[in-house]
């Protein structure tokens, strides 16, 4: 029922949406393709019938504080026309207030469907310059009115909801420890890391950092643990035979992380800990890693670190961060300032 989509106003119209173009679609534009007209329209609408008079129109506009209203068939809810303040002014200018609505109403109507995406309504607003569009349901009956204000409110509400969802998640997670009672509660996060999986490298540490922030940890602490785990995660990707595992146990007072693999193991742990020592190949260095800073960097980020390794057997790294301490080890560097 929406005539003339040909002259449309979306800047994507008629273009094939390539990856590059898709990257430039804003969240608002995305929402216009997700929200339906029925999500934002006003459905509690007041309507009159063709045989009512222009006097009735004036009274209704005053009473409901509206500047336009739909005219429907008396028997069914079929939409017959629309009457606006301009139509009313024409009638008043002619001293013709007692005339029936059918004489002044606009019956050549642009409508949208309740099941259309919001973008369809936006197109019609841009094309026709009208301020309101009647909305029809599946059967073609009037079910609501949509104005530009409705569209704005709908989009703003949806954006607000996006934002609130993250807030709610954060709120729920941050109360986890208070809400669950035990003698000692801990949350265990487990991740399996694949050897040479550079594409997903950092996903585990990223999720761990996000989890900590949602749990209400202070951002400095989340940063410290994030960096430590990220270095360890990259070590599993670069320096193992079969990848390895990361377990992070979060308690209210402390966080323990265990990172282990089954080989090849480190020949000289003390040497490996020295800043700048590295066994990484040129390929790895090209990826920006292998500077020999990993282990010393990890130890700077955590409160306790224990590295056990045996050639041919594997490596076991355990890290501890104490949640009571406010100052961050990584940030206090250099210490003599």
């Amino acid at each position: 029922m929406s005539p003339g989509n040909s002259k449309s106003k979306s800047r994507f119209d008629g273009k094939i949406i390539t990856d590059e173009l898709a990257g430039s679609i804003s969240r608002v534009e995305e929402l216009a393709y997700i929200l339906k007209v029925s999500d934002v329209m006003t459905s509690d609408i007041f309507s009159l019938h063709p045989e009512n008079t222009m006097d009735d129109v004036m009274a209704s506009m005053r009473e409901h504080q509206i500047s336009g209203l739909p005219i429907t068939d008396t028997k069914n809810k079929k939409l017959l026309g629309l009457i606006s303040t301009e139509d009313l002014i024409r009638a008043l200018a002619n001293h013709d207030e007692s005339a029936s609505i059918s004489k002044y109403m606009t019956s050549d109507l642009v409508t949208v469907n309740s099941y259309d995406f919001l973008t369809e309504a936006l197109k019609q607003f841009a094309r026709t310059k009208v301020g309101r569009l009647p909305v029809l349901d599946v059967k073609g009956h009037l079910t609501g009115i949509i104005t530009k204000g409705d569209v704005n409110n709908g989009l703003l509400n949806a954006l607000q909801k996006d934002y609130q969802e993250e807030e709610v998640r954060r709120y729920r997670a941050s109360h986890l420890f208070e809400d669950i009672e035990s003698d000692r509660t801990s949350l265990l996060l487990r991740y399996d890391i694949k050897h040479l999986d550079f594409t997903h490298g950092g996903t585990a540490s990223s999720n761990i950092k996000r989890a900590l922030l949602r749990l209400g940890a202070n951002p400095q602490l989340a940063r410290r643990l994030g960096i430590a785990i990220y270095e360890a995660e990259m070590n599993l990707i670069i320096h193992t035979n079969n990848g390895g595992s990361i377990h992070v146990e979060i308690e209210q007072q402390q966080i323990n992380a265990y990172i282990w693999d089954d080989g090849p193991g480190i020949a000289d742990v003390e040497q490996a800990m020295k800043p700048g020592f590295s066994t990484a190949t040129d390929d790895i260095r090209e990826l920006g890693f292998g500077a020999g800073m990993g282990l010393s960097n990890i130890s700077r980020c955590v409160d306790k670190m224990n590295l056990q390794s045996e050639l041919g057997k594997g490596t076991h790294l355990s890290l501890q961060i104490n949640l009571k301490r406010e100052d961050s080890v990584g940030e206090s560097y250099p210490k003599n300032k």
Partner: protein, 119 residues
């Protein structure tokens, strides 16, 4: 300086249109070695780099980096851009080299946020 002002200063091209351009930048750091970045960068820095893989974004996310500038007009692959969009980290490509860019930013009042080595 915020991200928007940074883009103007370096004739940059924003690769992640949805990111928050009001985010404040407190200083800078230039590096191609991500381990160096992880070890020595302080929060809210702009990172100048020639490295284009997704690990740059992961590193930025872990280190609370405010924006990433790719030097010498480099454009990272889609997986890097997508990851940055998801994580809300602005990616900018600038035609200038790393030395020129570091100089411009330093002159504009952005200090080094790379901690010196103490021993």
């Amino acid at each position: 300086m915020n991200v928007q002002e940074l883009i103007q200063l370096i004739d940059g091209r924003l690769l992640t249109p949805d990111c928050n351009l009001d985010r404040e930048i407190n200083g800078g750091c230039s590096a191609d070695l991500m381990s160096d970045v992880l070890a020595f960068i302080q929060p809210d820095a702009v990172l100048l780099t020639g490295l284009c893989n997704p690990q740059v974004v992961r590193t930025a996310q872990m280190s609370d980096i405010a924006a990433i500038v790719f030097v010498r007009g480099k454009t990272p692959p889609p997986e890097t851009i997508n990851l940055a969009s998801d994580e809300g980290i602005p990616l900018i490509s600038s035609p200038y080299g790393m030395y020129e860019l570091s100089g411009r930013l330093f002159k504009a009042g952005l200090p080094s946020l790379e901690m010196p080595i103490s021993n």
